[in-house]
C-alpha cells in the first residue's frame, strides 16, 4: 500500500518485504474514516497476511484529534499483530523542538506498553 502525502494527509506506506509501515506528514483529512479506513483494515489483516518482524515508523508534523482516534485503531492492529507472536518495533519521530508530537508519541507509548516503542526527536 502506497498513499502519497497531501497538504492535509500523510504519506502512508505498508510493504511486505521488508515488512514495514510508515506514516509521515500532516493529518487533518476532511473525512478521517474514509482516509484511514483502508489503512486500519490492512493493519488488522497483518496477522493473517504476514509473519515476522514488523518495523513501524511514524513521523507526524501535525495531527488533529480525530486522526489521533484513527491512529489509535492502527496501534491496536499493531498490538494484535504482536499478540500473534510477532515482533513489532515502533519508532515515533518528532521534529526537534516539537513538544506536541514528542508528547503524543509518549502518550501512545504509554497506551501500548507491550509494543517495543521508542520516541525520538530528529533534526
Amino acid at each position: 500500500m502506497q498513499i502519497a502525502a497531501t497538504d492535509r494527509t500523510p504519506a502512508i506506506s505498508l510493504t511486505q518485504d521488508p515488512l514495514k509501515l510508515s506514516i509521515s506528514g500532516e493529518s487533518f483529512p476532511e473525512d478521517v474514516s474514509a482516509f484511514y479506513g483502508e489503512v486500519i483494515s490492512a493493519v488488522n489483516q497483518l496477522a493473517s497476511t504476514a509473519k515476522g518482524k514488523l518495523e513501524v515508523e511514524m513521523a507526524m508534523v501535525y495531527i488533529n484529534s480525530s486522526s489521533i482516534k484513527a491512529m489509535y485503531r492502527i496501534f491496536e492492529g499493531l498490538d494484535a499483530y504482536r499478540l500473534a507472536d510477532n515482533e513489532v518495533q515502533v519508532t515515533w519521530l518528532a521534529e526537534a523542538d516539537d513538544d506536541i508530537m514528542q508528547e503524543l508519541g509518549e502518550d501512545f507509548k504509554d497506551r501500548f506498553q507491550s509494543l517495543n516503542f521508542t520516541v525520538e526527536q530528529h533534526g
Partner: protein, 174 residues
C-alpha cells in the same frame, strides 16, 4: 443594513479589543483550511515555532468543533475571534447549541476547568481509547487538546438565546 457609523464603531471595537481575525457565518472545512493558512503565515512571522504549533493546534481543534456541531443544524453559524495583546493570543470559538445538549458539555468542561496539566494529560490518554463513546469525530479529545495546549485555563460561557438554544463560547489563550 448596518449604517456606516455602526461599521466604524464595529471596527473601533475590533481594534480596541486587539482582534486580529474575526469571522461569523457558516464554518466549512474549506474556510478552516484558508484561515489556518492565514494564521500560519502570521505565526511564521513571529518566529517562535514552539508557540506557533500550540496556537495552530488550538485553532484547528476549536474550528473543527464548530464544523462538526454546525453539521447538526443547517442554520447554525459559528464565530471565530482571535485577539493578540501583549504577546498573548486568545482564540475564541462560539456557536449556538441545543439547550438539552449542554449538560454533557458542561460536565466535561467542569472536569477540565479545575484540572492541572498532568490530570488533563491523563484524561487525554484515557480519551484516546474511547473512539465512539461520545459524539463527534474527536470524541471529546478536542476539548482536552485545547486545554492541554493553552497556557492559561480555558474560559467558556453559555448564554441563553431562547427556551431551546444556548450560545456557547470557548476561549483559549496561548
Amino acid at each position: 443594513m448596518m449604517d456606516l457609523s455602526q461599521a466604524i464603531s464595529l471596527r473601533n471595537s475590533l481594534r480596541n479589543n486587539h482582534v486580529i481575525m474575526a469571522y461569523n457565518g457558516t464554518v466549512s472545512d474549506d474556510l478552516m483550511v484558508t484561515l489556518a493558512d492565514l494564521l500560519k503565515e502570521r505565526l511564521v512571522a513571529n518566529d517562535d515555532i514552539k508557540r506557533s504549533k500550540l496556537i495552530f493546534a488550538v485553532f484547528m481543534e476549536g474550528v473543527q468543533n464548530l464544523i462538526w456541531h454546525g453539521k447538526e443544524h443547517e442554520e447554525n453559524m459559528g464565530m471565530i475571534l482571535i485577539t493578540e495583546h501583549e504577546k498573548e493570543i486568545t482564540i475564541m470559538c462560539g456557536n449556538r447549541i441545543e439547550k438539552d445538549k449542554t449538560q454533557g458539555l458542561k460536565d466535561r468542561l467542569a472536569q477540565i476547568e479545575g484540572a492541572d496539566k498532568d490530570t488533563i494529560r491523563q484524561l487525554y490518554r484515557d480519551g484516546m481509547a474511547h473512539a465512539s463513546e461520545h459524539e463527534g469525530p474527536g470524541s471529546g479529545l478536542g476539548l482536552l487538546e485545547i486545554a492541554r495546549r493553552s497556557t492559561q485555563p480555558i474560559g467558556y460561557t453559555f448564554v441563553d438565546v431562547d427556551e431551546h438554544s444556548v450560545d456557547f463560547i470557548l476561549a483559549a489563550t496561548i
